[in-house]
Symmetry: C2
Subunit: 322 residues, 2 copies
């Protein structure tokens, strides 16, 4: 068997896994409504040319996906993710002139809301006689959050789509990829969501709540088929693709990021380690690695600001000089 | 072996499991701060007599507990629960004159906030010139939420304590039980939280993120030791205890609720089925079962209103006629 044959056979295995994942996934609740929403959003952007001045679009994914363990779901496996990185990155992409499709886990951090406390409404507001007012501590933060967020949406630059499960996430991601595909190189995927690696296929899932009779519970989880190769080769082949690699063990992080770059033909992989991820990340690209650090002198600085600056520049190069 | 010996041996097995659970759990971040907070809250209530006019205290638990799968946690198992029932019940307990210790999963529904939309701050407010104002649609809801919530806290009737993991939940529950124990029969536990049945003991948990090499993932989860018998027999033996039983299969629900009532010596078990839980529940008590239904004629009615009325009455009887 020569190498092209073996690549073919790898592709057909991937296709089969991906096909059966989608075939068995519970269908989205409002498939056609969502599809229309996406197409309208992309049409409004409708670039005249791929060069200077044309609007770029980025799909930012954010937060963790859940994996239900029962069809009538009481329990699920979840990935820890506050959605902070996705929300912060969205702000910088908007500032850089992108239209953003923000695919986020329900309940996670929203763009412009990073500095708000938990249960923001209860914490930030008080009743004064018959009026509601913002407490002084939060006045500026709340005004900025509401103002910027509403402006981005009303100007048609921010489309927010929530998900919960791995089934919803991957179906919507595919839908977004097909919608932005006509934009060619102007589209970017910034896949910051913490996507489950393992799941229980819908057809092999028990219907009812697992009983806690006696003794331990043994579970077997299947691997979620890798969608990145399909995104790159079929759904949106010209889009600029950035994926993320999070590890808790710094010793294996870079090797895994480089492997992902090559295997999935990403344009960049952002490598981050759980404990230091708010201080620095390493951008792994075919041309080499760049360490991106949060500024230690600027107040309120974050790692997302320089990271997005670097990626926008790389995307611009990709658009202009294929 | 006679039956008292076998009961003894059952107790010693339970004690051992519970002991090793607490011994191996990662310690709470601010153990002594939390302990002080609880003691102050209970002291402020300081009843002069157990009879008429003395303040009753209920610990309402709400939302699901998480079970980390890795010590440097990226993945965890979660229980689906919005916290709606716990939040609604808290409102009715406050209305009935109780002081409430609200032990809730971070991010779940808060008392008086049931009618607010997701991302309430972003949805309910807008910037008008330099001012922030509540949009008309939400004006009444927001005013009520903020007003009632702030009043309950500032009057010292509501103490809110958040948790995430099963380790935090059970440690804090024990701490609350020991703090309210001096109140004797005036204390109530209303255990509406969705508590994990299975977990990975801390010492047998892998340190780093589980790798998604090749093939499926096999997991073995241990049973979480049952804490209800310990709560009843040791932590707060005189408190009035209500636990919840949620099933998706209505055929086994009642049997399981009755079994829990007898096995754990609860004063009541609230049986609810996943799909109909907002319409009706069955209160299982030693004296017999009562079906509690949401009123279909009152606008905005819920099942928690009649449920709490019934339980408060039962608690009053328990206080007056031991």
């Amino acid at each position: 068997m020569d190498s092209s044959n073996s690549a073919d056979s790898l592709h057909s295995t991937i296709d089969q896994d991906v096909g059966s994942f989608f075939a068995s996934a519970p269908p989205l609740k409002d498939n056609s409504g969502l599809c229309n929403l996406l197409n309208q959003f992309v049409e409004r952007i409708s670039p005249l040319s791929e060069f200077d001045g044309a609007k770029k679009v980025v799909c930012v994914t954010s937060g963790g996906t859940t994996v239900p363990l029962e069809q009538r779901c009481v329990r699920y496996i979840d990935n820890f993710s506050s959605g902070f990185r996705g929300a912060a990155s969205t702000e910088y992409f908007l500032k850089a002139g992108y239209a953003v499709i923000f695919l986020y886990r329900r309940g996670t951090c929203q763009p412009y809301c990073r500095s708000l406390p938990d249960d923001a409404l209860l914490q930030c507001l008080r009743v004064n006689n018959a009026d509601i007012e913002v407490t002084e501590t939060y006045a500026d933060i709340v005004k900025e959050a509401i103002g910027n967020h509403r402006a981005a949406i009303s100007e048609g630059n921010l489309l927010k789509i929530p998900f919960m499960t791995i089934f919803e996430y991957l179906q919507i991601l595919k839908m977004i990829a097909l919608a932005v595909r006509p934009l060619g190189r102007l589209a970017m995927f910034y896949l910051a969501a913490a996507v489950s690696d393992f799941y229980v296929p819908w057809e092999s899932m028990v219907e009812h709540k697992i009983q806690s009779g006696s003794g331990p519970l043994d579970m077997r989880l299947a691997q979620v088929p890798k969608m990145l190769p399909v995104l790159r080769s079929e759904w949106a082949p010209l889009a600029f693709c950035i994926s993320f690699k999070l590890e808790t063990d710094s010793k294996i992080l870079l090797d895994k990021a480089v492997a992902a770059l090559n295997k999935y033909k990403m344009h960049a992989v952002v490598a981050n380690e759980l404990l230091s991820r708010k201080e620095e990340v390493i951008v792994v690209r075919p041309a080499g690695n760049v360490i991106v650090r949060r500024s230690k002198v600027e107040a309120g600085s974050d790692v997302e600001n320089p990271l997005i600056r670097l990626l926008v520049e790389a995307h611009n190069c990709y658009i202009k000089a294929p």
